[in-house]
Amino acid sequence: MMTLANLHLNLIAPEIFLSGAACLVLLIELFIKPARACALAWPLSLIALLISGGLAFGQINNPPLIGLNGLVISDSAAALLRGMSCFLAAGVLFYAQRYSQARDIWRVEYLTLALFGVVGMMTMIGSAHLLTLYVGVELLALCLYGMIAMQRDAVQAAEAAMKYFILGALASGLLLYGMSLLYGLTGTLSLASISANSLTTLLPTSLPLMLAVVMVIAGLLFKLGAVPFHMWVPDVYEGSATGTTLYLSAVPKLAAFAILYRLLEQGLGGWIEIWQDILLLTGIFSIALGNVIAIAQTSLKRMLAYSTISHMGFLLLGFASATTSGYAASMMYALIYAITTLAVFGVMLALSRDGFESDQLDDLKGLNQRHPWLAFLMLLAIFSLAGIPPTAGFFAKLLILQAVVEAGFLAVVVAAVLFAVVGAFYYLRVIKLMYFDAPREDLLAASARGYRPSVLWVLTANAVLVVAITPWIGAIMDVVSSTL
């Protein structure tokens, strides 16, 4: 019997609220001149994101509940990740405002797309059904294509959007194909029922099943940007406006973790034999390739793109250990990575000006002499990405390595650690440029202070958080792992 009550609409209250807000934001332009519309739409979007995040956090202590006739699930992990996605997105829009405005992409449509993208991520995070999962993935992807292409007159952006769109469509095809095979094999799209199947009938040695799982994983790896489906990452990072790059590099990682968790653990958890080795291998290759190729980059954005690939490798390793502590470690990793990335790009955005992107490594030269404080914040964030204690990035890696050692893959840990040393080199180069090199003459003269003081305060809180949570990292870890 389908009644409104057993649909449990309250489970998706944050999504409903945010969708409504997004529509409202879009309508603003009907009544206010486009030139001024953003002045209202921007704070409205931020408030909507914060409220929606708060609504999601409100569900954190609820027992797991399936709603909408088995389409969505609301558990603590979903509440935490949805809330954090909203807050991170709010941070992104907060940092990106001045930069995007100067580049004429700061329009009401852009904000609407950003909000709907968050709805897409939240849908992914709360999916209990292959259908919701796919809808979430596509909603996010379509918003991202639009946001990247918003910079109409930039050739690079058009190229990035096109590349992302075509490869994204291919990946969606793979994902869908895998899902359809799964449906054919199990006769259901609900993750819980698929999981129930694994216990009884389908053996992991079945060839169609392997094909289905591999297809699904290929689609997921593409969305994550892991080797061997990483090719789009550097181009899209470089081609997009920095504000958009930040949006697509920081926020969706939580959702990416969530769909991995939903699909692999909750859906395909019975067939670990099939996916564990795949994740281990792609994980270690992502770490290797990302860290080695990042060294050769001259563009800061491309370097961060390759660094992201290696970080996703670490996230996959945590997953590959296939234990609760492994999943918890991956979740911590995604959270810490997102917060740190937010800080790195936040500094980049604060440094950029009209006609100056600050997206090349050389643009950071002598930053310590131009903006000592921004340089210091960048230093904290970069060391966190490199995983040097006492930053949060170290604990993120520590937890992953611990989980992998516990699962018995000591050789993988040694390999990951060796590539982390390789990776340390290019992070150190960033520090070197900022602290050891003399500033470029042209930049020294034009060190305008265009950013708002409030941005600087938030940025400071953001970057200092990366170090300051160290004493409480245990408590945070407990909260995170209790949600799984």
């Binding site: 040097i388 611990q402 004493p471 245990g474």
Partner: protein, 495 residues
């Protein structure tokens, strides 16, 4: 007094870090005097606190003292667990004294980004003390690695012309070794069933092959830091390029962290592997003692010469550890302290010359004694100590190590004793060329002697060297029971 004792170690670690942050906040160079005075105040307070530690330390026991223990990351049983024994205590005191000296040494020499410079040294002081206090594996690792960040910046920002290369080399070498140590710690965590307690690791039985692997992983971390041949090549680069203060801390304390790691982790956790692989460590140590001393002989750069002499002296330390003899081990710990003061003082002397002529080349100088008699006195004194003259601290350590080694193997001892000749040769030859002889050029002729600041800085070091040299008994007394306890532990197989 309970509360006082119960938090003294935390105070020693975090007070300098917080003062460092405070110094950082003074910001611009026009507020440099404030930065200097706050830094000096912070280092003096820390030194006084460490003096309290020395006074209140119970010499009769090998147990950990001033223990602080609390949950930190309870899920993985990572604890905030601090404590010291007779081996860590002298090293803590060495750290606090030298940080004070280094702050004085950089007083008017550092003119750019002054606040950042002093902040880096104070933060590093706290982290290094943390290394010597930590009894939890992850906490140890945290301090051990975090210390790289300020050192990296010190070399890279205030260093010489080739500083970028030196800084990155230093960082990557150390990181590679340390990460292998991290893997070993994680392995031990899982093997012991969920604890990072270093003392629990000591007691945990391990099979022979596992011990060998763990020992090698630790060896990678500590051999780089000590440094031992063949992974020593970062040291001459880092020393030469670092500013004077950086060289002093590097030589005097960070190298000791490597040696300390052997005593605290590598040897007691894997005693059987340590015994099995002693031949390897002893051989590498002897190579360092003899070959690196010969390398030092041909250096033209004073800092490089002292850097190689450091490697050679640290070879003595590792030799003393791995002959498993009480006298040798005590000698090795004394050598650690002594080398801290002597090499630090030598670098300060070079710094004094460098500040005046901006050259580290031996050939630039000559006849310095005629224009800088007071300085020449100190330089000759420290050179004698470096060569191991009786009456200086350098003699006590080397003598005890050779004596202890003799009781194990006359062959090892004979080779090690060669250093007394080569060491004297390279040090005294350098002194002869720099301090004595005819005045080389007009620049040397125009040199001014030590100012008051430099005088006090060098006399502090000279007093320490002399004190340890003529009256080492208090130092030996502090470490005796801990060293005995360690050797007893090492003698029992863990198989």
């Amino acid at each position: 007094m309970e509360i006082f004792d119960g938090h003294l170690l935390s105070f020693l670690i975090w007070a300098p870090v917080l003062v460092g942050a405070l110094v950082l906040l003074t910001g611009k160079d026009r507020r440099a005097p404030a930065a200097r005075w706050i830094a000096l105040g912070g280092s003096v307070v820390t030194f006084l606190a460490s003096a309290c530690l020395w006074a209140r330390f119970d010499r009769g026991t090998a147990q950990m003292q001033f223990v602080e223990r609390g949950d930190w990351i309870s899920r993985f049983h990572i604890e905030y667990y601090l404590g010291i024994d007779g081996i860590s205590l002298p090293l803590i005191l060495l750290t606090t004294v030298l940080t004070m000296v280094v702050v004085i040494a950089g007083w008017e020499v550092i003119r750019t980004r002054v606040a950042q410079y002093f902040a880096a040294f104070l933060i590093m002081e706290g982290l290094m003390i943390g290394v010597f206090c930590a009894l939890d594996g992850i906490l140890f690792y945290l301090f051990w690695e975090a210390m790289l960040i300020p050192m990296f910046l010190i070399i890279g920002v205030w260093g010489g012309p080739n500083r970028v290369y030196a800084a990155i080399k230093f960082f990557l070498y150390t990181l590679l070794g340390s990460l292998l140590m991290l893997v070993a710690l994680l392995f031990l965590y899982n093997a012991t069933g969920g604890s990072f307690d270093i003392l629990a690791f000591h007691a945990f039985p391990l099979s022979n092959s596992v011990q060998t692997l763990i020992f090698l992983a630790f060896f990678a971390a500590f051999a780089v830091k000590v440094p031992m041949v063949p992974v020593h090549t970062w040291l001459p680069d880092a020393h030469v390029e670092a500013p004077t203060g950086g060289s002093v801390i590097l030589a005097a304390i960070t190298l000791k962290m490597g040696a300390y790691g052997f005593l605290r982790l590598a040897m007691p956790i894997a005693p059987d592997a340590a015994a099995d692989l002693a031949w390897l460590v002893v051989t590498l140590s002897l190579v360092a003692v003899v070959y690196i001393a010969l390398v030092a002989l041909v250096q033209r750069d004073m800092k490089k010469l002292i850097a190689y002499s450091s490697i050679s002296h640290m070879g003595f330390v590792t030799l003393g550890f791995f002959v498993f003899d009480a006298q040798a081990m005590e000698g090795a710990v004394v050598q650690m302290i002594s080398h801290g003061f002597v090499s630090g003082a030598m670098f300060l002397c070079v710094g004094v010359l460098y500040d005046r002529l901006h050259s580290r080349e031996i050939a630039t100088y000559g006849g310095v004694i005629k224009v800088m008699p007071v300085f020449a006195f100190f330089m000759v004194f420290f050179a004698m100590a470096n060569a191991g003259l009786p009456g200086t601290s350098g003699f006590v350590g080397e003598f005890l190590v050779i004596l202890g080694t003799f009781s194990v193997s006359g062959f090892y001892a004979t080779i090690a004793a060669l250093t007394l000749i080569v060491g004297a040769a390279y040090t005294l030859w350098m002194v002869k060329r720099v301090v004595f002889g005819a005045i080389k050029n007009t620049e040397v002729e125009a040199l001014s002697d030590l100012n008051r600041r430099e005088f006090w800085m060098l006399s502090t070091m000279a007093a320490a060297v002399l004190l340890v040299g003529v009256w080492p008994a208090p130092l030996l007394e502090v470490m005796q029971s801990s060293v005995q306890h360690l050797l007893t532990h090492l003698a029992v197989t863990k198989l």
